[in-house]
Symmetry: C2
DNA sequence: CAAAAGATATGATATTTATCAGGTTTTATG
DNA sequence: CATAAAACCTGATAAATATCATATCTTTTG
């Protein structure tokens, strides 16, 4: 099952779209496609990366482990996103671990093709820069949320985020299914607090659940909560 | 008092060093120098910027205001740093406010010179990209600290950060003098908690104070605290 | 320099959140 | 499909942190 970057629609969503035909051809010739099962790592904090990963399908959590054994999820990357870019650009080891939270298909692109294009094609470099500028803004927003919103507000925000970024199924449940532990690692709270707040939101009619699946039943209420009403 | 970018040593610390002679000349011809007094704003959240600011002297806090009226300081920018870059690169309004925390001298560089160089000189674009990659890593670290360290640990870390980045005077006090309110806005805590912890650190012999000045007297103890011992 | 404003400090208390301990339900596996 | 393991849930309690009230010290300003 051969597939070429030139024909890949995913590319439209990331910086690879700014590559020339020739550059893209070179990338396509050097890339390899990998299937990663839910729970498996793509890379670990501290590793040196020899390239970047373009997500074709599925979702990966990017997280950092702390001394006390807790993981903080900094970002969820899905279809179209390129991960490991920061590390390759800065020529540093990765500062985050990437683990699949659903079954994934990713393309590994060796860094040589990326780096040489960065040096010669300003459109591509600028496109990567724009994506990084966007990530930086999002990171700033997370910092502010962490310090100025309480756990209940951050939980509400997390569910709205999951709905807006990954969508709902036909029955109104969030498409991206995360364990309670992963949710608490996104929000930055203890698992028990996370579970307790889900129960509370259910009682109040903001959420519904079915096993691990969670659905939003009162979006307005969650929005109000985030805004501080 | 004329001064040219070509002769400015500050430039060595930021992405302007990757500009060609001609590009730099153009920037220098269009730039204006401004003096900003302590407490005065450089720009405010939501504004559209017509250029970037290169810090020649002094320190600026980059912060974001929340609904409840609290300010979270996301970054302290000093000599050599370029602020407003993210906004100009992404062609978005600024997501943070910049206010001088000490008297400052900055150069305002209209965006035209920057943007056209971004499109034509990949070395410059790559240099800007590398700086942004560094900022993004730092932001990720702040997120993790916020969620995984307690207020006392974050306070300890803040003092070590201030020492490492802005230095000490001859008497061993931190050179950068911040109000207790600014410190609490860096750490993400209530002013009273911030003041209380400073008192506690003084009692334990970790810090000394003299008016607004704060000095570190037991660096090892602060480091241990951060590490969780 | 006196009055006012602002910043710093501390105690008492309330609120939020984490932790511990013990359940139940769900999922994985031989 | 039985059993173990993992994930989920809830209550009780402890710890961390914010808030309110008030006092003192410092700086600014008329």
């Amino acid at each position: 099952m051969e597939s070429r970057c030139e024909n890949c629609i995913i590319r439209q969503f990331n910086s690879l779209r700014a590559m020339s035909k020739e550059e893209l051809k070179r990338v396509s010739d050097s890339k390899t496609t990998k299937v990663i099962k839910k729970g498996e790592p793509i890379f670990q904090e501290g590793e040196k990366l020899d390239g970047v990963f373009c997500v074709r399908d599925g979702v990966s959590k990017l997280s950092k482990l702390s001394a006390n054994g807790k993981d903080q999820i900094v970002k969820l990357a899905s279809k179209g996103e390129v991960i490991g870019q920061r590390s390759v650009v800065a020529e540093e080891s990765v500062n985050l671990s990437a683990v699949a939270v659903s079954d994934m298909e990713v393309c590994f692109i060796p860094k040589e093709g990326i780096v040489s294009t960065l040096h010669t094609n300003p459109n591509f470099t600028l496109e990567v820069l724009r994506h990084m500028a966007h990530d930086l803004k999002e990171a700033d927003d997370v910092i502010v949320n962490m310090s100025q919103k309480n756990v209940k507000q951050r939980m509400a925000e997390a569910f709205l985020y999951l709905k807006n970024n990954f969508g709902e199924d036909e029955e109104g449940f969030l498409k991206l299914i995360l364990s309670r532990e992963d949710i608490s690692n996104v929000v930055g709270t203890a698992i028990e607090s996370c579970i307790r707040i889900i129960s509370e939101f259910k009682k109040k009619g903001y959420l519904k659940t079915s096993g691990k699946k969670i659905g939003i039943t009162d979006e307005k209420a969650l929005t109000n909560l985030v805004e501080g009403f």
